[in-house]
Symmetry: C2
Subunit: 739 residues, 2 copies
C-alpha cells in the first residue's frame, strides 16, 4: 500500500529518516480489520505531537522513545492486546510491561486514549511537575492504574515479564481443564537496547527460552540509539542469532515507525508460537523531530521550534498544545466496550468452571482473592517439635519450607542452583519445566510444577519473582534461595520488590563468617547493612529453630513487604528455654535477664552469634562475677515499629549500664542500640567455621575480658562518655588491606 | 591414535562415562612436540588421585571440576601458556583466570607441579584446614603467588579476564612500536556453566566480542553438571550459536578428558584468531570417580572407597596419599627454565625498546612500576579556581576527571552509557574500540583509547575494571561512572575490588533524592549504607567543589582501596569559606563553629544536604536564638582512622549537647555520631529536586523547629536519655507501603 505522503504538509525541515520511513509505506495486513493507513498516520501524528508538548512544558523528560514507538502502541492497544480499561485489574488480562520505563509517557498517553479514567488530560500534563498526586511520575509505578510493574532500572522489566508469563503457565496448568480455560493471557514486554544488554535481562531471557514460554512476546524497540549515541558504540552482536540460540522465535519488522499492519501481523503470530517470540522492530527514535534518530532526542525536550515543526510535519496546528482531536479519541472509542465484553465473557466461563470443578474453583477463587488458606499457621513447626541438638537454621527453615510448599500451592520455590545446600525442596515437589523437555532432555516436571531451577542466575531469580508476585497480589508467594553473599548479585531486584511492596521470602543461607572454608568471597560482610537500611524490607536473622519459625510468621504476615531470612550453614545451639516467637515478631526481646536482681551489662546476640553472647554471659559471671543480661535482636525494623515503652523495657537505657552487640557483620546501625560491638572490620577468611569465628575474636574467652574492661570503665567514668565514642572491641574500621 | 586403555588396571568399577571418554582416544596434534599419550594419562591419573586425596582428608571440598579439567590443565600449563613460575609477576606473562573458582585445587596443584616455590606439598594439604597461613583457601585469592584475581562469585572471573585482555590491548596500542612488542600476552579464562549463565559474564562476553579482543580465549569446561544436577535443568540454549552471535570464534573439543593434543591445537589456534575464541570442551566432572558425570562429585569428597578406586583405576597405589611420583615432577621440569628464558628474552627486547623509544619507555617503566607521575597533584583544581555559584558536584568532579584523564594515561574512564549525564569525558578523549569498527560501523576510536563505552552494563563495567586494576598494580586506575542507584547492579563486583584491594574510582552521580523527577526507582536510598559498611572501601559524599577535589586526592592516595564518590545531579551551594580539603581527608571536620563561645546543638551536614544544615543553622539562630555548629562528614571510614582526640574535637561528646545528622539516606550508622537524624525512612518520590527534598522534610523551615524541640528536651532532661533512644526527627522506619 502506498505511503500517505500527501497527508503531510510540505515543509523543508522534514528529516530524511522520517521521510524515508514514511515512503517505505505500510505493508501486510491480516484477518483483523485494520483502520486506514491515513487514520493511523493521523493518530500517530497527534500522539507524537502530544509527547513533544509533554516534554517541552518543563524542558526535560524522555520524548524520543515514546515518539518512536507510536505505531507499536497502536498495534498493541488498538488491535492485539486483551484488556479492559474500565477494570485494569481484570484477572485474565494480557499483561504488559514497559521494560524501557523511561518511555513512560508512551504508556501514560495510551492509557488516556484507551479510556483509563484516572489518566486525565490534566494528569498527563503533570509529568515532571511538582504535583504530589501526579499519576505520571518519571517512570511507571505499580500503584498507577494499568501499570503492572514499576520499571526504570533497566533489564528488570523484561525479567518481570518472564515471571508474569510463568505465572500464567503455572495457573493454567494447575486450574485449566478441557473446555475450561480460566487463565490464558499473554505477556507483552517492550524493551529497548538496554534490556538486551543488562545481565539480568539476558539471564531472564535465557530462562524464558529454556521454559518455552510461548505466552511471552518481547518487543524490541530497535532504534539503535542509547544515551551515548548509536548503540553500535557498545554493542555489535547479532541479536537475532543470539535470541534464536536462546530459544526464541524471531520476527523482524523493518518499518516500525509507520507499518502498523506489519506489527499487528507479528504480534498475532506471537500468540500462537511454540516458543517465546522476539519481535525485532526497527524504529527511529524521536520520529518526526529534527534530530530524530540521534541520542539528542533520548532524554531531552525538543525545543519550542522543533515541537512546532513536529506538529506541522504531522499536519497539526503548531499553536495548539496538548491537543487531542475528537477523531483521535473516536479511533480508540471501541476499546472500553470490547474490554468489558472480554471480562464478561471470562466471568461466564468462570461460572461454568465453578460448576464443573467446584473444589478447584474454590481454590482458584481464593488465590484470585490473594489469600492463603486461613489455617496456614498449622504449618509453622510447634515449639515442642524443634530439635534440641545443635541444628543449622537453614535446616530448621527447610522444615518450614517443606511444610508450606508441599501443602499450599501459592508457594513457588526457587533456587539459584543450590538445591543441595539451601534446603528448600519439599515433599512431592514437581519442577517447573516445559513438558516438552521430558522427551528432548529427559527432564521431569511440567508447568504445574512449583520448584524452580533458576540456574546460576540470582538476579533473574529475584527479578522474575517480582513478576510472579505482581501477577496478582497474593496469588503467588515466591520464595528464592541462594547464599546470602549472592544477594549482592540480586540486590537491584530485591530492592524493586521492596519498592513495589511485593510479598516474597528470600532464603539467604550461609550467612555470616560461619560459612567457613569457602572463604572471604563467600562470607557476607556488608550485605546485612544494606537490607537493614532498605525501606519496606524485613531482614531477619533467627538464632535457632524457634526464631526461624517466627521469621516465617513475620514474613507471611507482611503482605506488602519482602522478607529476607538469613540462615546459618553451621549448626547452632538451640535455646528452647529462651527463644520466643512473639519476641521475634517484636524485632528484639529479652532473651534472658541477668542472674539476681541487677545487671552490669547487656549483651545483644544475633542469629548465628547468639551462642557467643550466651557463652560470654556465663563466662563473665564465672570469671568476674559480672552479671549480663542478653537480648535477642533478629530484626531491627520490626523493633522500630514497637512503642517507646517496649523498646526501653528491652534496652533499659536509663540503667546507665553498657550494652554490647555481638554480631559477625559490621556494627553499622547497631550504634542505635549499643555502646560497643564485637563485630567485623574486614573481610573474612577461609578457615573451618569455628576457627573463622575464633580468628576474628568471636569466642567467650576473647569477648569476656573485653566486656569486663568496658564494664569497669563505665563504673569508673559513667556511661555518658560513650556518646559519639562507640567502641569497637575487636578492631577498627580500616582502609587498605591487612596483608 | 589408539587409546591407552591397557595402561589402566582392569577393575570392575570403572564408570561407563570414563571408559567411553578414554576409548574415544586422543586425536590431532600440531607442530608442537607433545609428550606421549601414555605419559599424559599417567600425569592426569596422578593429578586426579591427588585431588581426590585433598578433598578426602577433611571430607569436603570441590573435587569434581578439578578432576574433570586435568587435560585442559596439561594443555595450558605444559604446552601453551607463557609464564614464569619463578617470577609469577613477570610483566608480559599470559594471564590466567579460573573463573570457576571453586575448582581452585586444580590451580593450586598445577602451581605446585610447575614449580611455584611457595606452593609446597604441605600447602596443598592445608586446603580446608585451620592453618591460618594456608595458601590454599576455598577459592583462589589474589594474594597467592600466581593467582591473577580472586574468584569464586561466579561470572566475575570471566569479566575480569575481559579487563585483563583490554589492558594488554591498550598497553600494546600505546607502547608497542614496529619491531618492538613489549606487551603481547594472551588472557586465558576457564569457565564452567555458571559463568555463562550469570548476567555479569554475559555482559562481559558481549563486550569482548564487540571489542574483538582476539587476545582472549574463554575455555568452557563443559561438563553439563551444576549443583542442581544436569545443567539442562536450567539451560538448554545453543551456547555455540550464542557465542558466535556475540562475536566469538567457536572451537569444539569433544573429548576434553583425555585428548590433550586436541586441546593444545585449539588453544594455539586461539592465539591467532581474528576474534576472541570460545573453546567448548566436553569433559566429565569427577572423571575417574564412581559418580563421575553427576552433581554428587561437584562439591563433596568422594569417600574413602572411591578414592581408592580412583587410584586403582589410574594404576596407582591406593594406600599412597598425596603422592606425586618423580616422573610426574619430571614431566613439568622444563617449565621453570622455559619461563626464565621467556622473561630474559622480554628483558632484552625491553632494553632495545628503551634505546629506540626512550620517552615512551620511561613512561612505560613508570607504569610497570605502578606509579603515577609524581606531580599528579597539579591536576587537582586549586581552591581559588572553583566556581562560587551553585554547582552540581558531578560538574566539579568532571573538571577533575578531565584534568586527570587528559593528562595521565593510567586513567581508563568508562561509563555505563551515561556520557551526557555523568561528566566523565575529557579533552581529546579517544574511545577504546577495535579499529576494525571504523570501517564496519563508522566508529571512532582504537585500542589506545581510554574512554570506554560499556553500554548499559554496570556489573560488567565494574567487574571488567577489576581486571584492568589487577593486570599490574597501579598500571591502570580505572574509573567507572553511572547513577548511584545502579551500584546495586554492580555491587558484587565493587565488593570484589574492595576484597582484592584494587584502586579504582567509581563516579556515582545522581545521588540522594536530589535526583528529582526520575523518581523512586532512580533515587538511591539504602546504597550508601552498603558502601559505608563495606570493608576496605572509601565512600565519599562531597558537599561542594572543594570537597570534591579532596575526594579525588583521597581516592588517589588510597592505592589499595576502591573509592566511591557520590555526586549530586542538582546544583549545590559552594562554601569556599568553610569547606576544607584537609578536613575531607580526615573524614569529618568542623565546618563552622557556632556564633559566640558556646553552642546548643551540633548539626552534621553531608554532601548534597549540607545546604540544609547550613540553612537550618541560620534559621535556628534567627528564630530561636539557638546556636548551632556544623560538621561536614563526607567519609565515615576516613574519620574512623583518626585519633580519639581528633574525633572528640569534632564531635564534642562531653559537652552534653545533642547532635543531629541531616542526610537524605537512612540514618543507619549515623547513630555512632549523632543522637537524632533528619533522614529517609521510605523510598523517594518523583518530583522536581527541591520539591522532593521538601516533601521528605528537608528544608530549614521544617528542620529548625524539630531541632529546637530536641534542644529544649535535652536542656530539660539531659543528653543521657538518648542512649538507645535515637530520634528520627522526620519519621520512623516502616514496614508495608505508605499509599
Amino acid at each position: 500500500m502506498a505511503p500517505a505522503l500527501e497527508l503531510l504538509p510540505k515543509i523543508e525541515s522534514v528529516p530524511t529518516k522520517v521521510l524515508s520511513a514514511i515512503s517505505n509505506g505500510v505493508s501486510g495486513g491480516n484477518g483483523l480489520k485494520l483502520e486506514s493507513v491515513e487514520k493511523h498516520q493521523r493518530v500517530m501524528g497527534v500522539f507524537r505531537a502530544f509527547i513533544a508538548d509533554q516534554c517541552q512544558q518543563y524542558g526535560e523528560g524522555h520524548a524520543g522513545s515514546p515518539m518512536g514507538m507510536a505505531a507499536i502502541g497502536i498495534a498493541l492497544y488498538k488491535y492485539v492486546m486483551k484488556y479492559s480499561p474500565k477494570n485494569c485489574n481484570y484477572f485474565n488480562r494480557d499483561r504488559f510491561v514497559l521494560s524501557n520505563g523511561h518511555a513512560c509517557l508512551w504508556q501514560y498517553l495510551f492509557m488516556h486514549l484507551i479510556g483509563v479514567e484516572s489518566m486525565t488530560l490534566d494528569q498527563l500534563k503533570s509529568y515532571h511537575s511538582a504535583n504530589l498526586d501526579s499519576l505520571c511520575p518519571g517512570h511507571p509505578e505499580i500503584e498507577i492504574e494499568g501499570v503492572e510493574v514499576t520499571t526504570g532500572p533497566l533489564g528488570q522489566g523484561v525479567a518481570n515479564a518472564v515471571g508474569l508469563a510463568m505465572a500464567t503457565k503455572n495457573l493454567a496448568a494447575t486450574y485449566n481443564k478441557p473446555g475450561h480455560e480460566v487463565v490464558n493471557n499473554m505477556t507483552w514486554c517492550l524493551v529497548g537496547d538496554a534490556c538486551l544488554q543488562e545481565g539480568v535481562g539476558l539471564e531472564a531471557l535465557s530462562l524464558a527460552g529454556h521454559w518455552k514460554l510461548n505466552n511471552l512476546c518481547v518487543i524490541f524497540d530497535n532504534n539503535n540509539v542509547t544515551c551515548d549515541g548509536t548503540a553500535d558504540v557498545a554493542n555489535t552482536e547479532d541479536i537475532n542469532m543470539k535470541m534464536r540460540a536462546t530459544g526464541f522465535n524471531v520476527v523482524d519488522v523493518y518499518n516500525g515507525d509507520t507499518d502498523v499492519a506489519a506489527i499487528v501481523d507479528a504480534l498475532i503470530a506471537a500468540r500462537s508460537g511454540d516458543k517465546p517470540t522476539f519481535l525485532n522492530i526497527r524504529t527511529v527514535i524521536g520520529f518526526g523531530a529534527a534530530k530524530a534518530g540521534t541520542a539528542d532526542v533520548h532524554g531531552a525536550a525538543l525545543g519550542v521550534d522543533d515541537v512546532a515543526n513536529v506538529k506541522k510535519l504531522f499536519g497539526l496546528d503548531p499553536n495548539q498544545y496538548f491537543h487531542i482531536p475528537q477523531d483521535v479519541y473516536d479511533f480508540f472509542s471501541d476499546i472500553p466496550g470490547r474490554g468489558e465484553a472480554l471480562e464478561a465473557s471470562w466471568k461466564v466461563d468462570l461460572a461454568k468452571y465453578r460448576e464443573a470443578e467446584p473444589a478447584l474453583a474454590a481454590e482458584f477463587d481464593r488465590r484470585v482473592a490473594g489469600k492463603l488458606p486461613e489455617d496456614w499457621t498449622q504449618y509453622i513447626t510447634p515449639k515442642e517439635a524443634h530439635p534440641t541438638a545443635s541444628t543449622a537454621t537453614r535446616k530448621s527453615a527447610g522444615v518450614l519450607t517443606n511444610a508450606f510448599a508441599s501443602n499450599i500451592n501459592s508457594f513457588l520455590v526457587g533456587t539459584a542452583d543450590l538445591t543441595p545446600s539451601v534446603n528448600v525442596t519439599y515433599k512431592n515437589k514437581v519442577d517447573f519445566q516445559s513438558p516438552e523437555l521430558r522427551t528432548s532432555c529427559g527432564l521431569d516436571g511440567d508447568y504445574s510444577g512449583r520448584y524452580i531451577h533458576y540456574g546460576i542466575r540470582e538476579h533473574a531469580m529475584c527479578a522474575i519473582s517480582n513478576g510472579l508476585s505482581a501477577f496478582n497480589k497474593g496469588t503467588f508467594i515466591p520464595m528464592t534461595s541462594t547464599y546470602f553473599v549472592f544477594h549482592l548479585y540480586a540486590a537491584a531486584a530485591i530492592r524493586m520488590a521492596a519498592l513495589q511492596g511485593l510479598q516474597q521470602i528470600h532464603i539467604a543461607t550461609h550467612d555470616s563468617i560461619g560459612v567457613g572454608e569457602n572463604g572471604p568471597t563467600h562470607q557476607p560482610i556488608a550485605v546485612a547493612a544494606l537490607w537493614r537500611a532498605m525501606p519496606n524490607l524485613l531482614f531477619i536473622r533467627p538464632c535457632d529453630a524457634e526464631e526461624t519459625a517466627a521469621a516465617y510468621i513475620a514474613a507471611l504476615q507482611a503482605t506488602d513487604t519482602p522478607t529476607v531470612i538469613a540462615l546459618s550453614r553451621q549448626g547452632l545451639t538451640q535455646y528452647p528455654q529462651y527463644s520466643s516467637r512473639n519476641g521475634v515478631l517484636k524485632g528484639a526481646y529479652v532473651f534472658t535477664e541477668a542472674e539476681g536482681d541487677d545487671f552490669d551489662v547487656t549483651l545483644i546476640g544475633v542469629g548465628g552469634e547468639m551462642c557467643y553472647a550466651m557463652q560470654t554471659r556465663d563466662l563473665l559471671l564465672k570469671n568476674y562475677g559480672i552479671r549480663a543480661r542478653v537480648i535477642s535482636f533478629p530484626c531491627t525494623r520490626l523493633f522500630e515499629q514497637q512503642s517507646r515503652e517496649y523498646k526501653q523495657s528491652v534496652l533499659k537505657p536509663s540503667a546507665g549500664k553498657p550494652t554490647v552487640v555481638i554480631e559477625a557483620y559490621p556494627a553499622n546501625g547497631w550504634e542505635r542500640y549499643a555502646d560497643a560491638s564485637v563485630s567485623m572490620h574486614s573481610f573474612g577468611k577461609s578457615l573451618p567455621s569455628k576457627d573463622t569465628y575464633a580468628h576474628f575474636g568471636f569466642s567467650a574467652e576473647s569477648i569476656a575480658p573485653k566486656v569486663k574492661d568496658l564494664v569497669e570503665e563505665v563504673r569508673r567514668d559513667g556511661i555518658g562518655i560513650f556518646r559519639g565514642d562507640f567502641r569497637d572491641l575487636n578492631g577498627t574500621l580500616r582502609i587498605g588491606l591487612e596483608h
